[in-house]
Symmetry: D2
Subunit: 495 residues, 4 copies
């Protein structure tokens, strides 16, 4: 163990401010020896969903054990004493990516609490859109909150249910919750998994020699050699018993149609994961194929923005017949932000992560393929770097449609005023980025890549709100905040 005194400095955020938004991955297993070791491996496979913090909780039949750390799974949960530190036959784990205010240990999950009915550890991916309302209601009636996370709201709701079993309390709690989430809980009565009613956030069920496994993505099952069984259905709550039985406490017969998150295909999920029966890698390649059909420029070479643009660029190359080349090399040792020398030009920042491969760019008309364009700042730097390396023309292609609306379900994204595509025309964007042409995949093209179908505008098959503004759930907290603002404005107007 470390000799360094750990510390937990925190600036307590004003409760009227926005909560931290976060991407995360969850994992759980029950009824197996080495539960903590398998959970560490599963979290390692989910590391791309969150690198800021990680935690594991286990239950050994008598006691709970719990560790949380800042940093990577591979730095904290690899030692040979892990089974001693975290004994038990069931476990849940969590990786977390925090986007605001620095990461602090108290917000790292799983959280643990003693509630009526026993101890419960909980790990959560997603965002609850009425969390602030629920929090205010709970505080009003005597609850104390020790963190700013949505997860503590869920814990408080669980604690207030009068149902006999903890899994039933979880069911009661989730009735009040609006939003997008995939949850795993550890109790003395078994491991619980739950997914929001429209299945916005992903959660899959697998088996390792009979032991049930829950994970955000199938790649975590592959890592430990578990077989994929099925996705947890939207709105479903399962209780995984130690003997391997998986009891579906609430069937996923939701009154709302399922709308899984489009961004899992676009960016989040690992390319080797299977989401809704489809290979993420193949879907991304199809996005590139369709993109080429929609917007093929006269050019000499297709170059991906590594690594997220690679599958789409391969598809683009295949469909366009233009050669695919590694025109940009990724530096794997990124580390922290360096101080920049004052005398050296403006593209040094991007060069720390990427470098131009001059040999394949010089004198060429280059098509740069990226998975998406959010703020446009990175695109501008990469285009400049490619030009500096001698490219004759640079045509930028985004393998997803323009992002016009913010997300409220756990994806870190700027406010609408800062979304590049929401505030600029395509021509303005191209000019700002400095490319010779800019094209995005169409929404229909994206749906084709996802499933071969077109978008049903009456009942969209995916949570595509970032591209369409069509949000799958009520946005309670946002609407209340807006109402407050409007009221203030009306007062001002009246006065």
């Amino acid at each position: 163990m470390s000799d360094q005194p750990p510390s937990d400095p925190v600036c307590w955020f004003d409760p009227h401010e926005d909560r931290l938004r976060e991407e995360c991955g969850v994992f759980a297993i029950s009824g197996t020896p080495e539960a903590a070791v398998l959970t560490a491996l599963g979290l390692h496979a989910l590391q791309h969903r969150g690198q800021e913090g990680c935690g594991i909780a286990t239950y050994d039949g008598a006691r709970f054990h719990h560790e949380r750390h800042l940093g990577l799974v591979g730095d904290s949960f690899t030692q040979a004493d892990l089974p001693q530190r975290l004994p038990g036959t069931s476990a849940i784990g969590h990786v977390r990516y925090a986007t605001q205010g620095g990461t602090i240990l108290r917000n790292v999950q799983p959280l643990f609490a003693d509630v009526a009915g026993g101890g419960i550890a909980i790990g959560h991916n997603g965002n609850i859109t009425n969390a602030r309302m629920l929090r205010e209601m709970l505080v009003e009636t005597g609850a104390i909150f020790q963190s700013t996370s949505d997860t503590e709201v869920v814990l408080q709701l669980i604690a207030r249910s009068r149902a006999p079993r903890l899994v039933d309390r979880v069911r009661d709690a989730l009735r009040d919750v609006e939003g997008a989430y995939a949850l795993v809980c550890l109790t003395h009565q078994g491991v619980i998994g739950a997914r929001d009613e429209q299945g916005i956030r992903p959660l899959v069920l697998g088996r390792l020699s009979g032991a049930p496994v829950l994970a955000s993505e199938t790649c975590a099952l592959d890592m430990i050699g578990a077989a994929f069984e099925r996705e947890i259905e939207p709105g479903e709550i399962v209780l995984c018993h130690d003997d391997g039985r998986v009891e579906s406490v609430r069937r996923g017969t939701s009154y709302r149609p399922a709308r899984p998150c489009a961004f899992e295909f676009v960016y989040f999920a690992r390319p080797d994961s299977i989401v809704q029966g489809r290979s993420v890698y193949s879907v991304r390649k199809r996005m590139g194929i369709r993109l080429a059909q929609e917007s093929r420029p006269e050019a000499d070479v297709i170059v991906p923005v590594p690594d997220s643009g690679v599958p789409a660029a391969l598809g683009f190359s295949e469909a366009s017949g233009l050669p695919y080349e590694l025109g940009i090399i990724r530096n794997h040792y990124v580390g922290r932000t360096f101080i920049e020398p004052t005398q050296v030009g403006r593209t040094i920042g991007v060069r720390r992560k990427h470098s131009a491969n001059r040999g394949v760019l010089e004198g060429k008309r280059v098509v740069l393929v990226d998975d998406s364009i959010v703020r446009g700042t990175t695109s501008r730097k990469i285009v400049q770097m490619v030009r500096d390396a001698g490219a004759a023309e640079v045509h930028l292609r985004s393998a997803s449609p323009p992002i016009l609306w913010p997300d409220f379900y756990g994806i870190d994204m700027p406010d609408r005023e800062q979304l590049f595509a929401a505030t600029h025309s395509i021509e303005e964007m191209a000019a700002a980025i400095g490319c010779d042409s800019l094209q995005f995949l169409s929404v229909d093209g994206m749906y084709w890549a996802f499933s071969g179908a077109v978008r049903d505008d009456q009942a969209p098959q995916y949570s595509d709100h970032c591209f369409t503004g069509d949000y799958p759930t009520r946005l309670v907290d946002r609407d209340r905040a807006q109402a407050d603002k409007d009221m203030q404005l009306s007062f001002l107007v009246d006065a």
Copy 2:
């Protein structure tokens, strides 16, 4: 900030186990620039009350700021960026000594929570004797507990009060609480201080250029140059406003007589502190004077067990006319437990902390004076070391009476079965320790040293339960545990 990923490993204790018992020190200041810096200095002066962890919370008029660390104040709160890290004009701080299970960051104080009425940070010295009962009741009605500390019980009670001001909620909460405590709280409405009804744990009020200061001991006031004003009365709750007003929300007109803790004089308090108007150093010297009168042996030299035995040894020397010599030297660089070589004798452990000064011991009849004798193991090693250095005789004197009963108010002490004096006669103790004679100060002698008065057995003036078994409060949790055991036994008997 540290580059080291902090971590928070925890084994979640069985709720049916004993809580962690702890010694602590608290400090608070309101309405002054540099509140965090002054709090750091104040905590440094209280460091003898707890070395395992420390924390500071501040309020800057809009937000709370909060840091907790393992280790010493001087390792965590000395840097020049402290006013930036912890801005604000009011602050509370805490030092903590944990005795069981290793220290973990989540139990370091102040704790912070959002409750109805606003944010509240709380630091606590003492022990609540009905904490387990309250905790069970709270969990029953929907509370979640994220730590094992008594302090979270108080937070939950505060959250459930319906009183309008936070200070009134604190008052409501403390009505339900039995035990010994000194509390400081930080709110947006001011700094709150509270002391248990019999004033068992200490809390004093001072002023620094008009700004109110609360501290466990006067030495913390001296450190920052604050003037001592008065002790917080038993049962009193004060609200220190930012403008310097100290509002006594509940007057200390307790229905129970005050009984401050005798152990503050015996061991805890720093010798330069003033407790109840008396210099701790002088009281300890008087204990030595009386001890000499009660049990002066034929001897050549008086030797203190450093450092806690020094004042009493000076008094013993003065009263007995025997010369005072530093026969035992204390090593200031104690550090961690060393591995012991197998071939070297049995006193190596004690030698790491103390060494015999052979020149003043050889051939002498030595009187060793210590402040108290708890387990007897250290005494045995020191006596052996003094004998090894050539002492002709070793007479051990304890400047406090035999410890016959466990404490339930925050002092770390073994169970009755392990208390040396509770299970051995004085002759058996002397034999086990290996000294030529052994004497303890009488209870009356202790009272004389404290105040010149004798003990009023109907209404003892001090919490002297460790020596007398006369506990000042109900021991709710202990009695319930005992009742459970008795019931189990009666079942066994019946069956």
Copy 3:
């Protein structure tokens, strides 16, 4: 600065054991403000050449400044106080990869010493093949050695030269040295660069606004925006003055023909670097093109072993007309070795770094392309993983010839007895790896990819000894060790 007490534990290696072998990268700049910042950026670009330790030395016109750290450049040399910590207008830097016995700080470079003529810091990439002989000679005549590194041998030789200028002392020292090296030195008379007589290890010269820059690869020039000027010639020693003059102290008119290291093309150099006028990426692609021509199997898909196999796989795909797919996904968060669960199969180790992309492998005849095969253990695991993902056939292709001989010039490689290709036929290797077919690029094919020419067996154009056994230098230490062994054997035979 870190609060953690740094430490330097070391087991002092038996001088009769083998020295540590190491890969490294060097960088130097002179006559520019922000020399340390530019050096940090340059080292970051060379990070792929060594991740275990890094160091920078600067000279500010009066004093030398020096920092060495374990770990990545991005963890140690990025802070805003770097110009204060390491002031000066000239600097050298080093990244290091240690292969044996754990990394210890004392072996991290640059080394610094006071020698006759002034202070000198030195950073070194390569290996000296008569280092042990020189070391014994130096110790014999009164030298003390405080590390096990070859670099200290060079320092001692520099110290013994009687030449007036430090650069001339370096020249004198290198006269005695046999082997492969690229050196950078920092002195009060300027920055010195030197390359071994056959140019085995690389060193290039660039300019940043007139300031001379030395680096192991051109990618470090690109990082800071410096223009490439030329390679340092084999055997050349340059002195870079603060005013920008580059004085060639010893012209590279070597009596031995240049033989740059083939492995820079095969594996070491970053793909965007230019080595000997050729793009490393393009050369690697040509290796794949030629490999396809030499050994195209009947197959469905070309899959690279990421990331080093990617350019060759692209060339193989282009030449074979078979589609290129990312059938193996690399995990970027590798971290430390995890403990492996006992119940899970044998391929878990490789899955931490790579995962199979089942969608593009299932039912396919797969051609796996890797840059080289050293021990065969990784190949075996990857082939198994690809089979587990459903591949119908797996054909393994190595884009370089079989490695039959060990390296003695700074590349970490096993002894001949452990070299897979040196001890197995191709059929045995294929069987051990478990692939359906196995082919290596021919030596002629490699030469074609390098330069379009064929190998001149009388005067090979490259240091290709690992493939051919044709070593470019004398191996003094190895031969002496062999002679010792032989003599012992002959004694045994005689006896």
Copy 4:
């Protein structure tokens, strides 16, 4: 082992600057199991001689093992794996106190080097007064220096000797060395101890079950239960064989009279150590007795400046008949320098270490007894603190004579221009300190306390140069520096 990347930042000092001066302690043991454990305990007992860094080297019959750390022995050498980390039956250790420029790991001892004849580790307490001259001579003839420490000079001299055994090489090396030192060396031929010709720095020999032990002070022997045998004689060099034989390679028949350092009695040595047959504690008490005889003021109470003034204050109290009281309390948790609040008075700095015990000071005429007065700044703050606590008069007494001359033998002391007593009359000093009277012990009084004898001015029995200016050795480097300055001045005058 620590996960934290250790680092070794260094500003390389101008060789024309003064070397680091340092206090140190050394320990060695040979021919015993658990050599490293015993050495760690011995160093712990010597921790008062140096707290900045510590190191241990061991030899296991085949290899050397070596660890050095910043910080306390108790933080680095206590773990249960110590015998595995540092195996062997002989060991040497070192604790170090650095006074300038921050401590860096490279200057922590023991140093290790390969020299002709084998490996050698060396630890050193003291200072070599011709080190700079020797260093220049060695560099001139080809030596390289990797640190600024005197110890490396000794290593280089050892390396150049042609004597057959390492102990004879040490003897040859020390012939050229002028100054004050106690050395321990570890070689494959045994443990070597050496003391300068006049025995200025201390070194004692003890036995633990037959195994020879060397240590700076007897308290280190007591710690491990070893019996004291004798002091190493001035000028003596011993070789401790693994079988317990102690061979005196050079008898201490020095041509110069022994002059042990007076400051060991005054300040350095631990009070329970025996130096030259006398208890340090008793000598210090005698200094207080004589001080009272020389300068007893009218006063009410004797108060020591803790902890170093305690024995003299006890002696002063005994001789004067005035009561001894702990008027100043020492804070044991000093830690780093705190930031000071701007609004609080000037004595806060001293309060972090000491606090006034008002109860025994108020209204009293106080005699403050300290061991010595160097710069006067601390005295001024303590006197002010005592006055602030209500003392009616403050009389300061120094238990050693005025310090008028700098030390050149390893004691950290300011230049003559900054020595308080060298630049002020006693009246000026008292005024600057703010005390009512100030007196120092006389040199004759000090001699009486040491041995009962008077000073032989022709052949002083102690190295008392700080008080008398009578240096025991030539000050080669200082005189050469002075000569350089004089020559420059004469040039200036001539011109």
